[in-house]
Subunit: 226 residues, 2 copies
């Protein structure tokens, strides 16, 4: 009996490069492999106890996701997000979440909204306790849940990719208590708009919310990496 079949998931043959890509993704997003770092194929293959082939496949995947850049004959490096790139990413992300918000108001079920409300309540608790990491995690899950409500596979996929790329930066963007309070208030409004299924309002709220988030990231980038 295969070990995998013991899990709830019925069938899921997972090639090695998929696993490797996931592990690398975590390492990069959590900052354990810093931006600009060169990724030596032989060393990494040895580290994961696999051959170079699936590792290269994984790097190709991450390259397509934008997490790493592959230079011909020079290898892969972890993408370094500049200020201009961050602005571009936030612009696209705003447009996408705006669309998602609009669609979510049309397509979300009551169960969907209830779930988001639960996440929101959870996030509020962490906010009140000043637990930043948990707050960020919940924040991310809420935005993701709203996008999921739009029931648009491509939108979900692209949003996920962009959010990952931005998370590398945002993770360390420790904003001010004032900004945190304001962000929390914005989330309250967002949830209210979703409850009322006010598409255009939710769209605008999400866009300005992300715009403000970018401002905070912008300041951090200007202060820390010129």
């Amino acid at each position: 009996m295969n070990v995998r079949t013991t899990e709830t998931e019925a069938i899921s043959p997972r090639p090695l490069h998929g696993e490797v890509a996931e592990r690398l993704r975590r390492l990069i997003i959590h900052g354990e492999i810093p931006p600009g770092e060169r990724l030596n194929e032989r060393l990494l293959a040895e580290r994961f106890s696999i051959s170079r082939t699936p590792l290269r496949d994984a790097l190709k995947l991450l390259s397509a996701e934008g997490l790493v850049e592959i230079l011909p004959y020079r290898g892969a490096v972890v993408s370094r997000v500049t200020l201009d790139e961050a602005e571009g990413l936030f612009q696209v992300l705003s447009a996408l979440e705006g669309l998602a918000g609009d669609l979510a108001c049309q397509k979300a079920t009551e169960a969907d909204i209830a779930e988001i409300e639960a996440l929101h309540a959870d996030m509020r608790r962490h906010y009140e306790r000043g637990e930043l990491d948990e707050y960020f995690a919940l924040n991310q899950r809420i935005h993701q849940a709203i996008v999921n409500c739009a029931q648009n596979a491509e939108l979900t996929a692209i949003h996920s990719r962009l959010a990952q790329r931005i998370r590398c930066v945002r993770y360390v963007a420790n904003f001010s208590p004032a900004r945190w309070t304001r962000a929390m208030a914005e989330h309250e409004e967002i949830l209210e708009a979703l409850r009322q299924r006010d598409g255009v309002r939710l769209q605008n709220l999400l866009k300005t919310h992300l715009g403000r988030k970018f401002e905070s990231v912008r300041e951090w980038l200007l202060a820390n990496q010129g």
Copy 2:
């Protein structure tokens, strides 16, 4: 002396899998490899006179672009775009082109606009002569040029990918003469809004333009593949 350096492009060492990916992309977009077709690695490698390794790399790339789907241990097949998927793609594309239009009105240079006007004039000529293929090509280039004006690398990249996926379908979506005339008029309006740098108007025009385009694709899909 390397042959490639004789071309205008200064430095561009192009790995084999890149070339192969491009060739495959063309084959798929032009419909020479129909949707649903299985892509046998050995046969394709033999066809291109290369090994399986770079071919597999190319398939991974196209998979990330969404043009093919890779099923574990079962190989790659050309993605078949369903009606629901097409709707999702157009929704995202509308949001992205809307954003691009807004940004373009802020950032486009006079030279950019002049170039788009030239493309537009060219397209009009082909329209008047009833040359559909050339019209489509110019149409594509115009939309692409508008997106380029936004000066947002990520936006350009994602838009390009989505446009490619949709082109597989739209290429055969021979719409009615009435729709063609209307589309041409919409493009006139689009160009006018860009000239006047009316961001919100251009954004709305592009969104409705794409919405109509989807309607035409929708009808074709309903008629031809149920």
